[in-house]
Structures are given as structure tokens and as C-alpha cells.
Amino acid sequence: MKIEFNENELKQVEEIKKRYPTTQAALMPVLYMIQEKYGWISKETMQFAAQLLDITEEHVLGVVTFYTMYNSKPVGKYHLQVCTNVSCMIRGAYDLMKSIEQELGIRKGETTSDQKFTITEVECLGSCGTAPMIQVNDDYYENLTIESTRTLLSNLKNN
């Protein structure tokens, strides 16, 4: 697959660059653009980002691997990120995790064979007051129960 940005996307990159005095600073937003377009950040896309911003590939690799939100391997259509930190934990996040794992037949860190769901255990997502919660792609689902999570999963399955 050829990795490239179309004219609009290149224009967007130029807009991003204007916000900062160095092109290197545009790396994080550009990596987000790549992830949005290709779903994850592969070695090829890292090379592409490096060329685009005139920085080294090693630097790009260092940044991609440092931050947890850049997927360095493909994830399912629905990325279920379950927060299990203290506030969520004491309100049943691990039970929620177990029920999601059973429902989908995979363990955390895995993707279903139809590439529809990936489960990830994540650190605090800043929803402590509405715990337990999970993030599905960009959206937060809060104040969950095992029952409401089942409904959520079945809605996603049918989508």
C-alpha cells in the first residue's frame, strides 16, 4: 500500500506547522492524522512522517512507542479501552472486564478474529466520578453496569 497524503491533508499539515516554530513539533498531530487514515502506525507510515517533517525515523519511532494512544499494531473496528484504576476498580471495573472478555471470547490485549473488537486495559481516563467506564474509540461510556455494557456490546456487534 502506498502511504501518502492527499492535497487537503497536506494543506492541513501546513496549517499545523504554522502553530509551532519548528516542524518537529507538528509530529504528534501528524501521527494522529496518520492513525486516523490508516488505523495504526506502521513502520512505513513512520518513514512517511519522518520525510514529511524532515526529522529522523528514529525520532518518530521514539515518539510513537512512548505514547500509549498511538497504536503500533492494528486494532479492531471498536477499540474497547477499559479503565481499571482505583476509582473504577472499587466500583467493579474488573468484573466489567471479565464480562466483556466472556462476551467477546477474547482476553484483554487481543482482537476478535473478525477484526471488530480489541480489548485494552488502560490507566485512569479521568472519569472517576462516573466509574466504571470504558472508552470505545473516541467516545466515553460511563456509569456502566454489566447489564448496560452487554447492551452496548450487542449494539456495536450489530453495527
Partner: protein, 442 residues
Amino acid sequence: MTEKILLKDIPNYRDIEVYKQHGGYQIFKKALQRKPEEIIDEVKKSGLRGRGGACFPTGMKWGFMPKGGEKPNYLCINGDESEPGSFKDRQIFEFNPHQLIEGILISAYAINSPTCYIYIRGEYGKWIKLMQKALDDAYSQGFVGEEMKKTFKCDFFTNIYIHKGAGAYICGEESALMNSIEGKRGYPRVKPPFPPQYGLWGCPTTVNNVETISNIPAIVDKGGEWFASIGEPKHPGTLLFGISGHVNNPGVYELPTGTLLSDIIYKYAGGVPGDKKIKSVIPGGSSVPPLRSEQIDGLKMDAESLKAAGSSIGTGGIIVMDEDSDMVRVLTRITHFYHHESCGQCTPCREGTGWMLKVLHRIEEGNGTSHDLDLLIDVANNIEGHTICALGDAAAWPVKYTIERFRDEFESRVSKSLQLPVINKVHSMRETSAPLAEVNVG
């Protein structure tokens, strides 16, 4: 009750038109009639202290910024908010974004900053969109950017950009945050030099918390003395207390500093489900020492009172744990967090957090020994104060203080006594062990 400064009971206050109807962007106009130094003095007079956890006086911080140097001054707004237990800044992004923007304009004017970055954690996709919408509205009405010159008939202007984080708790640390904006790994920098001397791209920089800056319009409007009269004299103002865990009504409550912790738990958050007793409360986010239930009575929520009680106000993120909570499990989960989030630069933190986690897992699984508790404290002591940034301390404190304050619970979980060929050099508080020098290993 004191009036609310940050989360006002005005419907649709996030809408720019509603904000304007209530005097929005007029305070900045007023601020422009005063010299930047006068604004800084007003903030100093208010006694406002940073709301990100360190409680550093804001006016003093601004005072460190050079005036009229060759390099541009930068302002960064810290909205990384990743400390377990903290979820207050997102309320401002969602319900009062224009007050934050107006606060940024006044702050940028005070420290002469032509560019400001709002660093928001990447997971807050929805809140980034809401904040961006508010920012776009402010730009389109000429309140931000070069258009400001026309709108406010002044020479000063500032641009505000949102920089989206990508999932790293450490980026809430100010120097790591700056590295992240520069497009690098979020590694904390060695200090000194401090950001006002060497910040973003080597230029003078101030980093302030979202909640701190949102207080600025009210301070400039009503005066530093008015603000200083709210709450506790040494830590004035209101705070956004985020309360979670075992309470009936978790959420964010804006209350004056010095409000009783018991009032927050029982009066505002509706008490503990099932009327259970409280075992422990973490008063300011996961990094601060937890309190035992008997420490709660009469405890005021402000920096000084919590320091006196052997904890810290932190971010005001209160986590309540009822009598059935398993403190070993809680500490293990917290330690897992700090191990996961350690940036890996400093050996004591990188290795120590993993070591502590291993030992805690061992204890949780019932394979711990009585010496493990002392080992944990020993490792924690070797992390604390031996790292570039405060994440090391943040990882060490929960371990030290949870074991100290709930030692009985930990003791009852360590089932085995240690059988070693030589006596461990770590001293147990309960068993007498000979100093290493006296051990005959031959």
C-alpha cells in the same frame, strides 16, 4: 455558601453568546487598561495558588517571567489531568471554556506571551472538540489572535492553540509537557534551569493548570482582596473537588478551601453506600498519602491542613474507600499505575516501581513474607528524592504511607516467615535482625 467562580449555575454558559451576556470578554478589556505588572500584583494579592497539585503561588510564578527579552514568552495551560481520582478540568472544558480562554488572554497579557498552548490529554476527545469549538467561536468574534487588536483597540494579541496529548501521565509534569509540545517523548527535564529561564524551545515559559487560569478573570474583575477573603487565608479561593469511589453521589463540587472533608463526603457526595464505615480516603489524587478513617474528623480541605494531617491537597481528587476495601489490592493497583507511567529516564523510578509491583503481587497472592513490607519501604525510600521529576515521589508515597497506616492489614496478608541462608539486611519493624556486618556467612 460562597458564590461559585468556576462552575456557575447558568444554563448554557459554555455558549459564547451566553458568556457574553454575563459580561464575558469585558474583564479582559478592563485588564488592558492596567499595566501587566499591576495584573501580576493583583494576582499576588489574591493569594491564588496553583490547582495542579503543587500549590505554588501563581502571581509569584508569573513574576519570574522576563520582561521584554529577545525571545518570545510562552504560556502553557496544563489540561493533561491523568492522576487517578482527578476529573475536574474536564468540567471546565465542558461547562465553562470561555472563562478559561478569557483567563488565558489576561494571563498572556500579564506575562507578555504572544502564543499559548492548551495541552489536553488525548483521551479527552470529546472535551478537546468542545474546547476547540469555544476557541473557534472566540477566534471568529475577534477575541483571540491578531483580530484582538481591532476588537479591543490595543497593541497586544495572542494566539491560542490546543495541543493534544497521546496517553502519557508524565506529560502532566511541566517540563515533560513542554517536550511533548515540541514533538518529543515526554521526558521531564532536569531543573534548573526552570521554565521561566528555559522553557519551550529554550524560551521563557509559564505552565499553569486549567483551573488556576479559570480563576483569573474573577480575580481581575473583583480584586485580589475579594478572592483572598474566600476560604482559608493561606490557600484562598474555591476548589473543584472531584469525589469518587464509595460514595452515593460522586462528582465535582466547587467549594471554598477549608471545607470539611466529612462535609464533602456526607453532605455533598451523599455518604457511603449501604451506610458502611469508611476505611480510607485518598484526599488529592492517587499520589498523595491515604488517610485512615479516624483522621477524617474535623479535617479541613486546604493545603496547610492536609499537610498537617500527613497528606496533601494534590488535585483535590478525593477517593473514598469503605470498610470492605482491600488496601493491598488498592496499593497494588496504584503501584501498577506508576510503574506503567514511569517515563524510564531515571533508574530508581524505572526499576523501583516494577520491583515494588512485583513484591506487592507476591503479597496479594499470599506468597509474601514479613520482610517484604520492609523491602517495599526500603525500595520506596530509594526512589523518593532520587529522580529528575516528582513521579518518583508520587510512586513512593502511596507505598510508604499505605503500609505505615494500614500495616496490620498488610501484616495479615504476609503469610510466610522468611527462610534465608543469611539474615536479610533489611530491618523488620516486628522482628529483630542482626546488622549485616555481624552475620557470619562463612
